[in-house]
Symmetry: C2
Subunit: 557 residues, 2 copies
């Protein structure tokens, strides 16, 4: 959604109710679905959604509603969730995840009416402090959202809504909107009591200076590369990034959190770089560079391969992030990733480079199953040539995550909680992503531990006729933790995972223990659309992927 | 746990590690189990638990671990849960519930080591603000705990631990303890750097004055009654309350949140009073009184029957709460429920009263099943004479909650989230309560909506060989919300609930649709211990209990 069309929306001046105003604005900004759980303080708003062209998507609980909205926002550029007051804080982890991984979600909480403030009502946490209202949720979500508002006045409601939505869209971070139930059906009274939100201005002179310096670095470099992170797709900069890379003809590596920002079949894409945790060929290619343009990467322990990423080459490091740009040892205050990448995309460069990438990451190969016990490495190989443009690969935390980084995905074809590392994101995330992109199909890799947390959310997939393929990597416990510190706490009860389809009353459940069985199951699942598949890949208890083994030995150092 | 034995514990001065010190102190205060999910920042502490006489109980996710600890605390007087940093905030709703319903739970969060503060680590929310540490969780849980500490120094750790534990035990509210992983195995360095926690002092003179005034009120009254709330059992005042009531021979009504504070088979127990939502006979009995001693009741919308409770009789109302005492229009600052009730129990009274209670609440009657479609009222009648001393009735929010208030339970024989109104508390609560009291058996009433939220936690019941009887009241949607504002959002997918036992690999699942089938199922389930039963009571979509109908018509007014 461009700033222009947002502006157009804001200047409309029809008389609407607060609820309808909010819904119309969301709709105009690309929100066709709101995820939630009904509850008495939000019920009236749920009703307004039902009457609106936006569709209400019922999750089975609050935190999974949040994960769905998160995935939806990563696909669409904006997501929304609404729940009731108090117990609605069950959504908190999802909002924190949106915050640290930059996913623009508007979280709408119901609340008691403005006329109810003197009562000791259920779901409330603290009694009356400010105008008799409970401010606990507001304080709590202030820690993990970029802007917040309690809509307690129809004269300021429209401005508050515009402000938090603008902040959400500009920063790509979640915002908190508290909606007392008495205000939902009140008419919006337009006024200018509050200051509007104005994003920071970018200095043209500073930008020109930074571009000049970047070009000087490039002209000196022999083998420059790009390391692109998740902020590229969050700020919708994929096309600009590609244009620049194509002009220069230089390889693009992605971070793990940024995986899927661009189509990995693009000739310049050269693998997921993760320091010493990269696949061998990828690391070699990356280390061969003499200049790295670090664009939109968050230098987390995971994305830097436990801080082993090698970005200080012979040239000065160049690091552009959401709200900062540093070259060598100096910063450009006020410059941001978006302006910088867009400006670079419009530049001519005096010199281009031979693309030095050996493209040595795992290629899709035909999988030849043996009649042998299944292992995680073989599961990944089997999936290798199944993933097409229509698929979104969604991996949960654990070996599913570490093992899958070299599978080739399309643009926006990969989702993971790759920094906050939430267990249980993948299944609800799959639902959110398929609702965002109806023609796509989610392929989920999830460990047994994570599946026990949120696997029953497949209920919602069935309810809305979605057909994800969910593969439970059953390594019998918290497999990622066993190498760190083993104990009985890493064991979990062994469920008959594939039988969950019988509880939910739909989909096909298949248990597999050999390569042949697994191959047969995924052949069936990928063959045609329309049916949800739940496939258990039963693995040996101590089976770990080569990627996880590498992590284990690096962590020991 | 008495203040004396707590004091004794505190004066011990052995050299221990921080982790062992904390575990020993918990053990000495009655904690034999800690509920949690392992995760890298807490793993080392999990290992110390494994080596300790305290048992680690693996939940399947964080919020259910919190609900288990909450139920355990309600039964035992202290509970504990531990999870990892960041994603561990999934526990937040459980801790908020403990806060508003006064359940003393010590919530222990893992955290990065003190030596790791400069890193951009996974699970963290904000970068370095205070000494390079992320303070988000601390700020967040400050909203919903009574005391908090980050153990960042072995010289202050023991005092911090003592302080938060004392606050937890005194206020019966949850506390937050953040445990950087590097400190767990460091030796405790005893010192007196911090001030100890000292509970407020009670003035003897003020207490004597209040007692005198109470006796004067009683001497004028003809038909006094007691309305006792949950704070009675939280502060372990049941015996004092009964002694006083027996001396005076006056009826005891309980609030809904306080249900199960005393054995409801006691001759003076006269029913659950909930204003206009009380059962007819109970309301009549209560309204017949001319003085009400309100002891430990929180005047919430639910407990007061939407603020219809009639406590201002001809005499002055007397309201004692956790930290306050009001008689008529004046307060006694500094007086608390505990001192007041204990003092009253030691008094002689010049006058006693004929117990005027008609004991008109529902009595256990033999249930005569018909070959007819099951309804919720009939489910409740069928359960009426099944509940014995060994049972703990745990009801989830919804009609399960409203319909069950007149079932007769024993002391600490009833648990519900009767104020915060969390959906999904009952199943994990059942597990926590049975782990707290091994010889007891939990009987769960849970709606279909709530069961979809946390029902899979029965996995943990099977893992630890617990045998709860879980009855899913399947009224096909959010039945409590339909009368408020009907819409498609109140529908949920209809699961084959009883088949969940096949997924989990244990227990007996039975689906029932008629009275005869239901009677047969519960006969089987109650007959003998040792097997988990999951019984679906399939109800008509718009079936509601008489209690819920009453609520609906009262809410409309």
């Amino acid at each position: 959604m461009s700033k222009d069309s947002l502006e157009k929306t804001f200047t409309k001046n029809q008389v609407k109710t607060v609820g309808t105003y909010l819904l119309d604005l969301l709709k105009e900004n690309g929100v066709d679905h709101i995820f939630g759980i009904p509850g008495d303080y939000i019920l009236r708003f749920d009703k307004r959604i039902e009457e609106h062209s936006i569709e209400f998507i019922n999750a089975t609980r609050e935190n999974t509603a949040g994960y769905m909205a998160d995935a939806y926002a990563r696909m669409r550029g904006l997501g929304a969730a609404c729940v009731t007051y108090g117990v609605g804080i069950n959504i908190v982890n999802a909002i924190a995840q949106c915050y640290v991984e930059s996913s623009p979600v508007i979280f709408i909480s119901g609340a008691p009416g403005l006329d109810e403030k003197k009562f000791h009502l259920h779901h409330l946490i603290h009694k009356s402090t400010f105008e008799g209202r409970d401010l606990t949720q507001y304080q709590l979500f202030k820690q993990i959202t970029i802007d917040q508002a309690i809509l307690n006045d129809p004269r300021t409601a429209s401005q508050q809504i515009k402000r938090v939505l603008s902040a959400c869209l500009y920063h790509k971070k979640p915002v908190y909107l508290e909606l007392p139930r008495s205000i939902i059906d009140q008419p919006i009274l337009e006024s200018n009591l509050l200051e509007a939100y104005s994003p920071p201005k970018v200095s043209r002179e500073a930008l020109a200076e930074a571009i000049l310096e970047t070009k000087a670095l490039l002209s000196k470099a022999k083998r420059p590369v790009i390391w692109a992170g998740h902020e590229i797709s969050r700020h919708n900069l994929q096309a600009y990034l590609l244009k620049m890379a194509e002009t220069l003809n230089i390889p693009i590596f992605s971070s793990l959190l940024g995986k899927g920002s661009i189509d990995e079949r693009h000739p310049l894409f050269s693998g997921v770089y993760q320091g010493h945790l990269s696949s061998d060929g990828v690391r070699e290619d990356f280390d061969n560079a003499d200049l790295v343009l670090v664009l939109g990467v968050l230098p987390t322990d995971i994305d830097t391969g436990l801080f082993t990423a090698n970005i200080k080459k012979s040239g000065s490091p160049l690091i552009a992030q959401e709200n900062s740009l540093a070259i060598g040892h100096h910063n450009y205050p006020g410059l941001d990733l978006s302006s910088f990448v867009k400006a670079l995309a419009h530049e001519d460069f005096p010199k281009t480079y031979p693309n030095g990438s050996k493209k040595s990451f795992i290629q899709s190969q035909a999988f030849q199953p043996k009649n042998a016990r299944l292992t995680i490495d073989r599961v990944l190989q089997a999936l290798g040539n199944k993933l097409k443009d229509e698929h979104i690969l969604i991996v949960d935390i654990g070996d599913a995550f570490f093992a899958s980084k070299d599978l080739i995905v399309s643009e926006k074809g990969y989702l993971a909680s790759a920094y906050f590392a939430t267990m249980g994101f993948a299944v609800p995330g799959a639902i959110g992503s398929q609702i965002a992109e109806k023609e796509k199909r989610a392929v989920v890799l999830v460990g047994d531990g994570a599946f026990q947390m949120t696997g029953t959310e497949l209920s919602t997939a069935l309810r809305y006729d979605l057909d994800p393929i969910v593969i439970v990597l059953n390594n019998h416990g918290y497999g990622t933790e066993r190498p760190i510190l083993e104990g009985g706490y890493n064991d979990i009860l062994n469920w008959n995972y594939s039988k969950l389809t019988e509880v939910l009353g739909g989909g096909v459940g298949i248990k597999t223990t050999t390569e042949l069985e697994f191959k047969e199951a995924i052949d069936k699942a990928f063959e045609k659309r329309g049916t949800l598949f739940l496939i258990e890949a039963d693995l040996p208890k101590n089976d770990t992927s080569s990627a996880l083994k590498k992590l284990g030995s690096l962590a020991k150092k």
